[in-house]
Symmetry: C2
Subunit: 403 residues, 2 copies
Amino acid sequence: MRPTAAVGIHSSEIKQRNVSAILLNLLHYGAISRVLLAQEIGVSTATITNLVAELVDQGLIAEDSRARANGTPNQVGRPQRSLTLIPDARYSAGIHIDVGKLHVTFTDVCGEVVACKSLDHQVEMDWRAVLDQACEALGALQTTHGLASERIVGVGVAASGLVDPTTGINVVAPNLDWHNVPVGDYISARLGLPVTVENNARAMALGEAMFGSGRDIRAMAFIYARIGVGAGLVVNGQIYRGADAGAGEIGHSHLIFDRDGSPQMRSLESIISRPALLESAQSILRQKGPLTLEDVIDRALAGDEALRAMLDERAFYFGIVLANLVNLFNPELIVLGGLFLSERGLLLPTIEKTMRQYAFATLGKRVRLETTGLGNQVGMIGAAALALDRFFYRPQNQLLMKG
Amino acid sequence: MRPTAAVGIHSSEIKQRNVSAILLNLLHYGAISRVLLAQEIGVSTATITNLVAELVDQGLIAEDSRARANGTPNQVGRPQRSLTLIPDARYSAGIHIDVGKLHVTFTDVCGEVVACKSLDHQVEMDWRAVLDQACEALGALQTTHGLASERIVGVGVAASGLVDPTTGINVVAPNLDWHNVPVGDYISARLGLPVTVENNARAMALGEAMFGSGRDIRAMAFIYARIGVGAGLVVNGQIYRGADAGAGEIGHSHLIFDRDGSPQMRSLESIISRPALLESAQSILRQKGPLTLEDVIDRALAGDEALRAMLDERAFYFGIVLANLVNLFNPELIVLGGLFLSERGLLLPTIEKTMRQYAFATLGKRVRLETTGLGNQVGMIGAAALALDRFFYRPQNQLLMKG
DNA sequence: TGGAATTATTTTAGAAAGTTAATTAATTAA
DNA sequence: TTAATTAATTAACTTTCTAAAATAATTCCA
């Protein structure tokens, strides 16, 4: 293997990287002047002038001829000129393949959803059928909204389970019974666009880091719980995948329960996922028929103490796992998505209290804990974010993780 | 805060980074030719020729006029010429401040210990006295071994507890009762050398990544257990610190124990550290007097089943924590140091078995688990590695983590 | 109101560092 | 010994950035 990070700079990368830095700063600040760009990026204003001119020519960014750049009100001297991204300069397609659900979207360069659609699919369906459905839905959206093909930078796919982003293969998606599905190649062949595939929690984490509350954050974790529980880690704006693209398998964290003196192990997924919660609720309620998580929450809020206690206990255990995550990874922010969006105050308070109590010293105090502000769109926005990151904002990083 | 990773390339960095890449490749491969360097680094052979010539002039690297570079035996054509680092071109000073122990060393550029000394110190001593002791010991070693000052790149300090590497302050070292000790400034003033300070487990992780079995590794964890338990994480050859330089506080991971139906929490440190093990052994043996870990191991090996069972249980719990670490961080390698070096087969087998059993799918199978090959020198070598990394191999990274 | 002061951006001239292609060097094969 | 082959160096040139000077757009203040 190559020595870690001992890669040099080929002169052809320099400009591309500086352009990248400009685009990312514009995304981050919304509007920023050339002087500040030069400061932030660490190059001369002359360079900024030249690169900005090119980007304006390409129709990617605009100079607001009126507005002063922020932070410089009424100063002496020539005013700084605001530069902004042109959101509709490019679009990104996102596909979130969830268990039983399929979400597709086009976002603009700023991560705003321009069009989207959610579909159901059966777990028994062949993977081809599922991906066909997604591609057709995207095609329909593109036509309806009149999105020019040449403005679409690519397709991002947030897939369930283990994904190899270098090959675009969904190695295994247990809850869909998919094995080695060549998601990237298949979609790329159908749509004629570059495709990037990633694990769903990781895609969401990136979406949150680029367009959500993770924008100013050095290290963050996104936790998505639904049928399974997964975490996505983002460090300095880049997804952390680990050695085998397996980082973040927090659902398989184990907790120890002594039963009669001998240890018994339980995975987090058996504690806090929707199936786990429903199973427990069903046994509490002695109900056999179908039950939704909303029902359970409703009944707990209506005063079912046994349900409430069950949920509270689960929240406590999840809080412990979060505290351990904080101790190991020391994130600045943890964002929760999926079933946490419908907890209505029954889980979060205990989760947060426990997490802060058991995290080490200041780490637990400093970390922020939130549910995602992107709501149930976080999966598709995350998917679109994958493509934006790889094909628009950081095209130089074509193959980050290879051996 | 600045947008994540949106930093550009100032032209003055380019050469420095390519030089860095050459040095790191030489360290990694031991001997390598210009053609291969060009391939690995991604620049032209012309550039390599020029930069190598400069490095030879500076006396940092040498061309072996005989040897063919490895991997190219008896080929047609002009043979590749081996380039190697000159180990003694520079030295690095390392100080490992452990609880009750102080280890100082000079290593060469390849991490080989040129000279070292270990000292005792009392926990009650003023921090100034401790640091003075270290500086004096270094001074003595330098004189004895005739190490020219101008060849010493700097001093690395592996400190106990929470460290802020940007300021060089040891924010808190609970086991030494140190608070906000300006380690970096103090040593720098005494020795007149640049100093870099880091948490001990992280320093060891870097040492292992540069000079130990972590050399080919993308993501690794080093776990140091003695009075406390800490982990150092290294990703792509760089220390991962987290948002508040608090990553790796694995000793404060909590495990849940049901006691009479209600959960009771225990930290890893209360399970697997030396004090914890000794306390438990003492209560098993009903012995009040002083007991060493070696005694405990001896007696367990001699057939004390209660002790053996205790150690095995502890190993099991540690294995669970490792499995959870593997699931979250997905390292390729985990290296253990400190008390694990004297376990004599009583802990590791159970640790490894448990870790692999409870880690998710392939992650647990792929990860390697070892005790450090650097032995008890890992702390001082890690400390020296800090300085080599920051002042010799990657001088461009002066301030990686700022807000 | 109009110049002085101030700050931002652009232009110009040039330097730094890389690249490509041609050349030279050191081998093996025949 | 010469041809073939591969490595390393050199020479000419390109790219990209920088520094410093010039220009532009304001506010300040008499």
